[in-house]
Symmetry: C2
Subunit: 346 residues, 2 copies
């Protein structure tokens, strides 16, 4: 048995900002003969995130070696789907699932082993939430802030890309823990909803002038925890405003993902020594023992209305390229999700 699958594949490794010609939208036959424990998924929602850029070939040795997109294969990413054929007792037909390792890909159907799936409940929160605030980004915000950054009540937490999926969650969790949350975002509209919707104390517009002066004003006692999704110039500036004993949670580097030439380099890194800082990467896969408690926290906070999120849902697999590019132009408003098989009953 086989079905026709439509999927996006890489055609070439982008140099700088990805171009339409870096991608190919193809139809191919998928063999749906399942092996034991495999299921066939009809995909419903596909996660688009900045980190996918690292799966396409990235500058400065930043490639995601474990999950590189390969010519002739689908671009890998996380997705939500419904089981339509099954050889797994855990996942009978009709079950809604999310994939754990981000291998579903930018396509409308896929086959995955049961070991890479988790069943999800569509009745308590919208399915799309499992791609963002209840997916890798929410988990990373929680683990990064509380397990790596470890702020205590009263401390100042600064979050870059504060309007984004991970950043908005990190700032809200900081507030839930009694911290002062300061966002950094691009443009007055994003800064507005970072404060009004997500409840940050203040949000600094990095496009709005002197970032260093704005940070000094927003953080009179310095930055205790900097949750960084951006790197580059924003990070270099924040280094000058860290409080003694501060912590930098390194979650992303979107400012560097599309840089075609080597970066100018981090000039202020000696502040790590002078101010006695800890700078530590967080990533989703590092703490599997904590998934359950983190998931419970996130679910509880969402149901209680304490953890809000924005989604930017683009309908139609054919719109992958413009949807993906929103992440790098900053046009998106919240988590970017590609909705596929939209015409069919979920």
């Amino acid at each position: 048995m086989s079905i026709t699958v439509r999927q996006w594949q890489p055609r070439s490794s982008p140099v700088g900002l990805p171009k339409p010609s870096d991608f190919e939208f193809v139809s191919r036959l998928l063999d749906t003969t399942l092996r034991p424990d495999e299921v066939l998924l009809k995909l419903l929602y596909i996660s688009l995130a900045p980190g996918m850029r690292l799966r396409l070939g990235a500058p400065q040795g930043l490639n995601d070696d474990d999950y590189m997109a390969r010519h002739g294969n689908v671009i890998p990413t996380w997705a939500i789907g419904r089981v339509i054929e099954s050889r797994s007792e855990r996942f009978p037909i009709g079950t809604y699932v999310s994939d754990l390792h981000g291998r579903a890909g930018v396509q409308d159907y896929c086959v995955l082993p049961a070991s890479e799936l988790a069943a999800i409940d569509p009745t308590t929160v919208p399915l799309t939430a499992y791609l963002g605030v209840l997916g890798t980004q929410g988990y990373t915000a929680h683990l990064g802030l509380l397990h790596v950054g470890r702020p205590v009540a009263g401390e100042t937490v600064v979050v870059s890309a504060a309007a984004g999926s991970t950043g908005s969650a990190a700032g809200q969790i900081a507030k839930l823990k009694g911290c002062r949350a300061v966002g950094i975002a691009g443009g007055p509209e994003k800064c507005r909803y970072v404060v009004e919707e997500f409840g940050f104390n203040v949000c600094v517009d990095y496009k709005g002038g002197d970032l260093s002066a704005a940070l000094a004003a927003a953080c009179p006692n310095g930055i205790d925890v900097f949750f960084d999704n951006v790197a580059g110039q924003v990070l270099d500036t924040c280094l000058l405003h860290m409080a003694r004993g501060g912590r930098i949670v390194f979650c992303g580097a979107i400012a560097e993902y599309n840089v075609a030439t080597p970066p100018t380099g981090l000039v202020n890194y000696l502040q790590i020594l002078k101010r006695g800082l800890r700078w530590e990467a967080v990533y989703y896969h590092a703490h599997p023992d904590k998934y359950e408690s983190v998931g419970a926290d996130l679910q509880n906070w969402i149901r209680a209305g304490l953890l809000k999120y924005r989604e930017d849902i683009v309908v139609g697999l054919e719109n992958f390229y413009p949807a993906f590019m929103k992440l790098f132009t900053g046009e998106n408003s919240g988590k970017v999700v590609l909705q596929v098989n939209a015409g069919e009953t979920a």
Copy 2:
């Protein structure tokens, strides 16, 4: 009552490598009328260390704000002395002491409060050891490696400035904990004694050619813990060889202390994100609760012959400048100590 004290003072803040004209050797009268709990010390051994450069005014905002040397005052540093007048019951005349906060200074006598002193025992290890391996440098090596770096047996620990006082201790402690110790030092003679005297598994000569290739050969499984005393190009190169989940202990930045212009910047810092690294500063003052157990470890290891150290003792307060400069030219062989009041009975 007063005595004449000879002391070194800063004349100007050095630009780049310190010049003789940046310092002034003066005699001044010291009022020896003691307040309660103060003692008058005859200094015997004075510690010279790279970090003193930061007390003279340093580039890139690296000044040691807490202990800046001021024009008209002595250059601060740690020293060992003997109590010759006392208004403290804890420190009767004749007691040998080390100062805890590095305020004794480059001079032959000083007055300090009892709260800033610790009594030391001259009978078990030489007094000079309390300035290096039993002083800030040994404590920093111990705390930095075991408390910050936390290597486990079998891991690869790389130490820069491995021939120096802190680095040689860090590497030996790594070996005591069952790790593989790889040194980085300048020149074949230093590399030789890092291996032969201090027992590192191997030592890479950073002046000897392609550091990156040499590190790749010395660390086939990558670097689990990098104990860095150097920063700059050595650090940037090591970032490319870190193992996933590796830790960088940031202890010093001697490559940057005499840089007159802003640094070119750290180009490979995105490896922190990609490899899931933790980069953390260590400094002596951060863990007062651990001083006692650290001191006991160091004493035991020294007595058992498991922790060796080299000293480069320069006699005569008048020789401060050439002795200090050894640290930056790399001419020194081990901990640089200035011996003063050498003609008198200790």
